[in-house]
């Protein structure tokens, strides 16, 4: 497992600006920081090295045709 990444209020503010969210006030940024800080802990559970998947259909990893 990776060390949990961290995220700052400035980084959240940059993401919000980049997405163009209207009316992003301090309360929204504070809540977004809280939620994404929790998310960072979860993302650390993604495996550091996922096996190389060279199948072209790997994104849709359910049976198609």
């Amino acid at each position: 497992m990776d060390e949990p990444r961290t995220i700052t209020r400035d980084e959240i503010a940059a993401l919000v600006r980049r997405l163009g969210i209207e009316n992003a006030d301090d309360a929204l940024l504070a809540r977004a920081l809280e939620l994404n800080s929790a998310l960072m802990g979860q993302l650390a559970r993604l495996p550091k090295n996922v096996g190389k998947d060279v199948e072209p259909a790997h994104v849709f990893s359910v049976p198609l045709r």
Binding site: L39, L43, L46, P63, R65
Partner: protein, 480 residues
């Protein structure tokens, strides 16, 4: 007759009609002993009497349903019978497009939106002669993890067995409507358990089919690669009949698959003698410590199948429900934000708190995280398939806890997040929820039956054998 007696008499009469199975109603209609008009009227009267309490429907189309019932009656009397669904009343989760009928997704953003096309599955049910009663309550855009969504334009649906308890989700209105006899068939959609969990909390049968078996065209998406539409019914046979009418490729859904559609209802009585049924216990023992009553009911269900002649074998997967859930979160939330980006940017304040915070809380998921999750999903899918492929069918936990009270957000979230349902959204296998009895609060418990890709027929056959052996489906909620 006084008012109370009249009400009791009316209730008893429409109880009989509303709780017929689709097969029973179909036979009565086909032999002209029951009119679709009577059947639809009985349902509409129940909806008028009970919907304010249980909130299963957002929109009811009584006039249209009655007109369609008269047409069905005329066709049948004229000898033009379309099949076992002709004249059968059904409802749709309110994320299915319905031409000329508003489709709200329980959201302020769509509250007055009227599509100009029908969802493919709705069209197929209409072609089979089934009659739409209305649109079912849901969590906003079919999203959420059990947190009460009390700031939407319609309050949450309530459990038919006890209105104080959790109604599941996101196809909550579909579950309560079928359980309360307000529809004989309901269609929901399932991204992590949203068909199977409402079925579980209502003692119903809910099927998430193999990814690609049922068209998703005309269903508001939640997650492109995880969503699957599915029926909720009171019996396995009812689902089999509905599936026969709906399955098959659709040019409007490139992820649907061209395959012959089996007669799912034909083999339901074959039993399970000699079948190899795998049991995955880790979901309710290692990953989550399930409630004792729920675990006992799962073990009892396994013994029922053993008693019917199945060979029970222990199997395992190398991933936890938390792993599967994380993959669904990273993939599902990324795809969901991509779908709703413009609305989130411009109309986020009109969204309910749960939907808005789902997007706010996903801002930091990177493209690399998404691709990594899809690769991990591939590994999980292969490992899950390796386990499933050893057996004719698989039994494992869906929800691991007793149905919680609706106003306990930590408990309702734990109920959803701890469920083993998301495993099969990740892998794409067919999986169903079936009732295993009732807990000490009188609320239903359940287990999942899963199968090999495209082998819904086996899932249904195993479920039907269990259903016949136990008779849980005969119980009805006391709605008075």
């Amino acid at each position: 007759m006084n008012d109370a007696t009249a009400l009791a008499t009316a209730t008893a009469a429409d109880d009989v009609l509303a709780y017929l199975s689709i097969a029973e109603a179909g036979r009565l209609i086909a032999t002209k002993k029951l009119s679709p008009v009577e059947l639809v009227d009985a349902h509409l009267e129940r909806i008028a009497r009970l919907n304010d309490r249980f909130l299963g429907y957002i929109t009811v189309i009584a006039d249209e349903a009655r007109a369609q019932a008269r047409t069905a009656e005329a066709e049948i009397m004229g000898g033009r019978q379309r099949g076992p669904l002709h004249g059968i009343p059904y409802g749709l989760k309110d994320n299915y497009y319905t031409k000329g009928v508003r489709t709200t997704a329980a959201s302020r953003l769509l509250w007055n939106w009227v599509p100009d096309i029908d969802a493919t599955l709705h069209s197929r049910l209409q072609a089979a002669g089934a009659i739409l009663l209305g649109k079912h309550n849901t969590w906003e855009y079919g999203t959420g993890l059990g947190e009460p969504q009390t700031d939407l334009p319609v309050p949450p649906a309530r459990n038919a067995w006890n209105a104080d308890y959790f109604a599941g989700g996101s196809s909550s209105g579909t579950g309560v409507s079928v359980a309360a006899g307000l529809a004989m068939l309901g269609l929901g959609s399932d991204t992590g358990g949203s068909v199977r969990v409402p079925a579980a909390v209502h003692g119903l049968f809910g099927l998430k089919p193999t990814y690609g078996l049922l068209s998703r065209a005309g269903i508001l998406p939640n997650s492109f690669s995880l969503d699957a539409p599915g029926p909720i019914t009171r019996s396995v046979h009812d689902t089999a009949v509905a599936l026969e009418a709906m399955a098959g490729a659709d040019v409007n859904d490139p992820t649907s698959v061209e395959r012959p559609v089996p007669r799912y209802s034909a083999d339901l009585d074959g039993g399970v003698n000699g079948f190899r049924i795998g049991v995955i216990r880790r979901f309710h023992t290692r990953d989550v410590s399930g409630d004792a009553e729920v675990v006992e009911a799962i073990e009892a269900a396994i013994e029922v199948l053993r008693g019917l002649g199945a060979e029970i074998v222990e199997i395992d997967v190398p991933y936890s429900t938390q792993d599967y859930r994380l993959v669904t979160r990273v993939i599902g939330n990324s795809e969901s934000l991509a779908i709703h980006e413009q609305d989130f940017r411009e109309r986020g304040a009109e969204m309910g708190k749960v939907l808005r915070e789902k997007f706010m809380g996903s801002l930091a998921i990177s493209a690399l995280d998404y691709v990594k999750a899809t690769r991990w999903r591939r590994e999980m899918t292969l490992a899950t398939d390796a386990a499933v492929a050893q057996c004719d069918a698989v039994v494992c936990a869906g929800p691991c806890f007793k149905v919680p009270l609706a106003d306990e957000p930590e408990a309702t979230s734990a109920y959803m997040i701890g469920s083993g349902t998301c495993v099969f959204n990740v892998s794409g296998h067919p999986a169903a929820s079936i009732c295993t009895g009732f807990d000490t609060n009188g609320l239903p418990m359940s287990v999942q039956i899963a199968g090999k890709y495209w082998d819904e027929a086996m899932v249904l056959r195993v479920a039907a054998a269990y259903e016949r052996a136990t008779g849980w489906r005969e119980r009805r909620p006391r709605l008075a």
